[in-house]
């Protein structure tokens, strides 16, 4: 009887402790959760709902079902923006990965002054996209910019018009983007490289492997987790490109560099087609998520985890 009493006493004590813990946890959580709920979680859910209505903010909302999505398929600017975004992503991802890996490999040679070089390569990343775009815009200036002055000095009579030409605007943006973000991913590669056990290389040297073989058979396979992470981040960033384009070309010339986020921005905040813009943003979400899922599916095929 005594024992039963003490057990029930203990369990009620535990219950009250649990309740107190829960209250405490909620108290800790509350300041962040209220803001998170109102300004992030609810808008995420609302974005989905908004894509099914027609609304210009002046007139009342009308539920239109899938009409916005049907309109996307017929929207020429959307298709152009979609292909431009794809072009940008395909252009930046491999270039960024190769450049950042090469720099990381060189930096990993146990050199003096590595901190200086690391900071130098990283520097463009902390500079605002607006500043970067402004500078590159001037460097790529079709008639006066130093790039074309240099090309003309080399004897090239008709250098590309860069941001002023339909064919060269996107390559210029891709170039500036790779330049800006490679330092960031270089840091990740550097961390990956430093995680490779030295013994592997020593064993390979004993077996008579040359540098290329070491790179191909040890470094690259051991880096696949990093490469996987970098590629996922790069692709997601690629689909979200906005600032660089907005400042460098504003989507032009014509629609040559109009990308998806710019299209969303224009539709929502300039044309006031909130429902339609929400639908386009849902397409962006589905694109980003499905590409990430595909990348994770392919993960087992090429990524080695120790």
């Amino acid at each position: 009887m005594e024992a039963v009493k003490s057990i029930s006493h203990r369990s009620s004590k535990r219950n009250s402790l649990e309740r107190r813990n829960t209250l405490r946890a909620y108290a800790f959580l509350l300041p962040n959760f209220i803001g998170f709920l109102i300004f992030t979680l609810i808008p995420v859910v609302c974005a989905m709902l908004l894509s099914f209505v027609e609304w210009d903010s002046a007139n009342p909302m009308v539920f239109v079902g899938l009409k916005n999505y049907a309109r996307i398929l017929k929207d020429e600017t959307f298709m152009i923006s979609f292909w431009n975004t794809l072009y940008y992503t395909i252009g930046t991802v491999p270039l960024t990965m190769v450049c950042s890996l090469v720099i990381a490999l060189v930096l990993n040679n146990k050199l003096k002054g590595i901190k200086f070089f690391r900071a130098a390569f990283f520097f463009p990343y902390i500079v605002s996209m607006v500043a970067v775009a402004v500078v590159w815009n001037m460097i790529f200036h079709p008639t006066m910019g130093p790039v074309n002055s240099f090309l003309m000095a080399l004897g090239i009579e008709n250098p590309p018009g860069w941001t002023a030409s339909v064919e060269w605007a996107m390559p210029a943006i891709i170039f500036a983007s790779v330049w800006r973000q490679m330092g960031y991913f270089m840091v990740m590669y550097l961390a990956g490289l430093q995680g490779i056990p030295r013994e592997l290389y020593e064993a390979a040297v004993v077996d008579g492997a040359n540098s290329w073989q070491k790179f191909k058979n040890i470094t690259l396979p051991m880096l696949t987790p990093t490469s996987f992470f970098v590629s996922v981040m790069c692709v997601i960033n690629g689909f979200k490109i906005f600032d660089m384009v907005a400042v460098m070309t504003e989507g032009g010339p014509g629609r040559a560099t109009n990308v998806l986020v710019l299209h969303i921005y224009n539709q929502a905040f300039l044309q006031m087609k909130f429902g339609y813009a929400a639908a386009v943003s849902m397409v962006l979400l589905v694109l980003v998520l499905s590409i990430t899922v595909i990348q994770f599916k392919g993960e087992q095929k090429w990524v080695n985890y120790m």
Binding site: E18, T22, R24, A25, F28, L29, P31, N32, F33, G35, I38, F39, T40, L41, P43, V44, C46, A47, L50, S57, I103, V106, L111, F117, A120, F122, F123, P124, I126, V127, S128, V130, A131, V134, V135, M138, I139, H141, G145, P146, S149, W179, G183, V187, M188, A191, M233, I236, N237, K240, F242, D243, A246, V247, A268, S281, M282, L285, V288, T292
Partner: protein, 294 residues
């Protein structure tokens, strides 16, 4: 017989080592060469920007580039404050960056404490909500956010951006990852000593979490300072605008005056550059370990 073989072997070995050594030197020299060349190439746009910012507008595009102008025009740096309300842009940006950074440090470390140190029902479910939104591009929910802010009559106020960015899910994630690496025994023994839950957070966990605090401070400050899309959507009147919007305004209003644009850009970079060089270690380590924020 035996000893000659050994000595021969030794000789081979030393010559092998010498070969390896000289090969290593060659590799090092080549690495330096590549590094110096590429880092110069990476920094050249900034050097060009610096030099253009102290030139006469007519000389900005002279070619071959004269890196140090004969008569540096330092007045450019004075003029930018007079032409545009540059000091207002600066003040707005600083208010946003400091407020949002402080608020997100406080709110996300508190929430992360609950997620990592207290057991309560629904903990995982709520945490998954946080993680889920990190994966959703901001552009997807910016439209409902904007509509909500307009309903609250908060568009074109700095408060709108503070409300939108101070409850960072990324910050919660970053702090939680750090807090779970702090041994449970520490908080357990503090609890035995009668320290309250808030006391443990304030006196034990936070002092240990300095690297996480530094990382989030830099990330958040730099993010807000450089942010472009949200200010572009929300801040429309000139006296509310931030530096990034100001520079773009500069570009559209004074397209001809390239030297001034460059001077304005240089000035806009200063706080972030100072922060970067003073806390570089945390910044780079923070990326290497979390690598979340794109």
């Amino acid at each position: 017989m035996n000893s000659t073989i050994i000595s021969q072997k030794k000789e081979n070995q030393t010559s092998f080592f010498i070969k390896e050594k000289s090969k290593q030197y060659a590799l090092k020299a080549a690495s330096y060469f590549v590094l110096i060349l590429t880092s110069l190439a990476v920094l050249v746009p900034f050097l060009w920007m610096l030099s253009a910012s102290i030139k006469l507008d007519n000389d900005v595009f002279e070619f071959p580039v004269r890196w140090i102008p004969e008569n540096p025009r330092w007045e450019n740096y004075k003029e930018i404050w007079e032409i545009l309300p540059f000091s207002i842009f600066y003040k707005n940006t600083a208010i946003l960056a400091v407020t949002i950074t402080v608020l997100s440090l406080i709110t996300s470390s508190l929430a992360a404490y609950a997620f990592s140190k207290i057991k309560f029902p629904g903990r995982n479910a709520i945490f998954i909500c946080y993680i889920g939104t990190i994966a959703v591009p901001f552009q997807v929910y910016m439209i409902p956010q904007f509509i909500m802010m307009r309903k609250l009559n908060l568009t074109d106020t700095l408060l709108s951006l503070i409300l939108l960015q101070s409850f960072s899910a990324f910050g919660v994630f970053l702090f939680r990852q750090f807090f779970i690496s702090i041994p449970e025994e520490l908080s357990e023994s503090a609890r035995m000593d009668g320290l309250s839950e808030f006391g443990i957070y304030l006196r034990i966990i936070l002092p240990l979490a300095k690297p996480a605090i530094a990382t989030l401070t830099i990330f958040q400050f730099v993010f807000v300072w450089n942010n472009f899309l949200e200010p572009l959507v929300y801040l429309t009147s000139t006296d509310k605008k931030t530096l990034q919007l100001g520079i773009r305004m500069f570009m559209t209003q004074y397209t001809a005056d390239y030297a001034l644009i460059m001077a304005a850009t240089v000035v806009s970079l200063i706080p972030v550059v100072i922060l970067f060089f003073s806390m570089q270690r945390f910044f780079i380590e923070g990326i290497a370990t979390t690598g979340i924020k794109g």
